[in-house]
């Protein structure tokens, strides 16, 4: 048990280190951007009308004050960490004074909902079909499926999304192609809203699932085809255990462990937001939030979204690393 505790402590330490480095890296890069948020705001504000340079200078000074950009790099850095520790990412500069956390919390359900659902569906489907394909090697349907999955898997996501958009938005418009939910539907736990959310999520989810399916399928297929030749499986077959039972209880169960690791890593990666999905389908998630924030040089928002990403991904890996030795008795904890 102490072995495990040692291991756990080490992993936790590693987690903290990684998160720290990641956030600092993001901070440095964000502040190295040549875009000046004050300048962006001024250009928006002075869209019309003449303004004398003294007026602009006054506006610049007051905006800098407002955005907390006064003071040297070190002061800002210290202030930043002071806020992070309390979980406060500060106000968003481009959406002043709305706090960054509000913006993130607004976008997060869309991202997490879409990506978690599609990842899980792709995982379940992929593993199911992969296990079947690996076990029933001669089945033609599964072989065809295998080839399709292999053909689809390496295609860049953008292209799949584009094709779906053209087919269902333009050639055969039966599905909504933009937005998270229909207009003028009150947000809440009511059926019109829920069904609207569902129908708007079909295309983005479909594109994500189609892409993700192949990977799980191929992985599970090769894993299970390896296990199939293991002694205990051959023994079960000889002993007359029914094939489906062998497939599920013997083969797939044992092949599941590495796939679970993969699932955790994918789930962790959700927090990156699927930037391209959101751009193509107009989905109001964290990916769009991030890109807009970079355009506007909104330090607070960029750091907020990136921090959430880093923590999410690292947490996923940490949890799996901690659970793995407990699930799989074969794993030796070093």
């Amino acid at each position: 048990m102490t072995d495990y505790l040692n291991y756990a402590m080490k992993r936790l330490g590693q987690f903290a280190l990684v998160v720290l480095i990641g956030i600092n890296l993001a901070y440095v890069i964000t502040h190295a951007t040549p875009i000046d948020p004050v300048e962006q705001s001024i250009s928006v504000a002075t869209y019309f009308g003449d303004t004398a340079p003294e007026a602009i200078a006054a506006m610049r000074a007051s905006l800098q004050e407002l955005y907390g950009l006064r003071g040297g790099a070190l002061t800002q850095y210290v202030a930043f960490w002071g806020r992070i520790i309390r979980g406060d990412f500060g106000p968003s500069l481009s959406a002043f004074p709305t706090p960054v956390s509000t913006l993130i919390l607004r976008a997060m359900p869309w991202t997490v909902g879409l990506l978690a659902t599609s990842t899980i569906i792709a995982w379940v489907l992929g593993n199911l079909l992969g296990g079947l394909a690996g076990y029933y090697r001669d089945n033609r349907v599964l072989k065809v499926f295998g080839i399709t999955a292999m053909a689809l898997h390496p295609v860049p996501y953008y292209i799949v999304a584009l094709i779906l958009l053209i087919v269902f938005g333009y050639l055969w418009p039966i599905l909504p192609i933009s937005g998270g939910a229909a207009m003028n539907v009150a947000h809440g736990w009511n059926w019109p809203f829920i069904s609207s959310v569902l129908s708007h999520s079909i295309l983005p989810a479909l594109s994500l699932i189609l892409i993700g399916l192949g990977g799980w399928f191929l992985g599970m297929r090769s894993l299970s085809s390896n296990i199939v030749t293991d002694d205990y499986v051959v023994y079960a077959e000889i002993a007359g255990v029914r094939r489906p039972r062998i497939l599920f209880s013997y083969v797939m169960r044992n092949a599941l462990a590495p796939q679970l690791t993969g699932l955790a890593m994918s789930l962790g990666g959700i927090f990156n937001g699927a930037v391209i999905t959101e751009k193509v389908f107009g989905y109001p998630g964290m990916g769009t939030l991030l890109v807009d924030a970079v355009y506007a040089a909104d330090y607070g928002l960029v750091l907020g979204v990136t921090t959430v990403s880093i923590i999410g991904v690292s947490l996923g890996v940490l949890i799996i690393d901690l659970l793995h030795p407990l699930i799989d008795p074969r794993v030796q904890v070093r």
Binding site: G22, L25, P156, Y158, V302, S309, V313
Partner: protein, 288 residues
Amino acid sequence: MWRIFKDLLKHNGEFRAGALLISIVVAMAALSFISPYAPDVSYVVAPDVPPNASNWLGTTSRGQDVFWQLTFAIRNTLLFGLLVALLSRLVALMVGLLAGYCGGWVDRVLMSVNDTFNVIPLFPLLILFYFVLRDRMSTPLLAVLMASLGWAYDARLIRSIAMSLKSREFTATGIFSGMTAREILLEQHLPYIMPIVFSTALNNMNWSIGLQVTLAVLGFMDIETPTIGSMIYWANQHTAIVAGIWWWIAFPVALVVMTFVGLFLLAVSMNEYIDPRSRLAGMEGASQ
């Protein structure tokens, strides 16, 4: 190495298919050297002409011949993928081998670094870099960036192989018979590692080309040099889909999909080859 390829070509259907696709793609890229049009000029032919005898794949809304533009595009895209794969293999090899052989704190430090790179959200970082570097973000620089972000996963793989090789008998034999570390590495171990490096390189190429296409389509790249991504970008700028100029998008997409599937088939068939059980199963006549 060559013997392996010959074997695969003879016995493995996937490898054959992959090789065919890739040779078509490479042929397209090679054709770019005899293109009658320079890659960066526009309005040299009548725009929006569908595929016909003189413009085999049609023309774009910018007055460029799709076929010849595509040859440049695929050439640049392939070169980019190759560059990234090469650079990241070097890093992955160095890190993986070092960590695997030395073990101890060297291993732990390198793996911590590796894990950090694994968890850093890639896309936001690339977008950030783009904004800091802007017009200085040339293709080689992007290649270096992506190479420095794409080695982590494969380094771990190489490390585990190195660790298992370290404890093999023939390594001990080599050491006892007085071979230097370098000789052991190059003559004994590399033949085991190379096939894996090769197949991961192919996957890596897929990944980097995919990412480059995505970035280019979003406009985060130099849009004057033709690449697959920039062709799609310009097609979107001119709303080609809605305007009915489908050939402008369809052919670059088809070609890049060919590239991806081809590379992937090659990688998969090499992987199967490396695992002796599946290789044997394959060679017994039942092709996958």
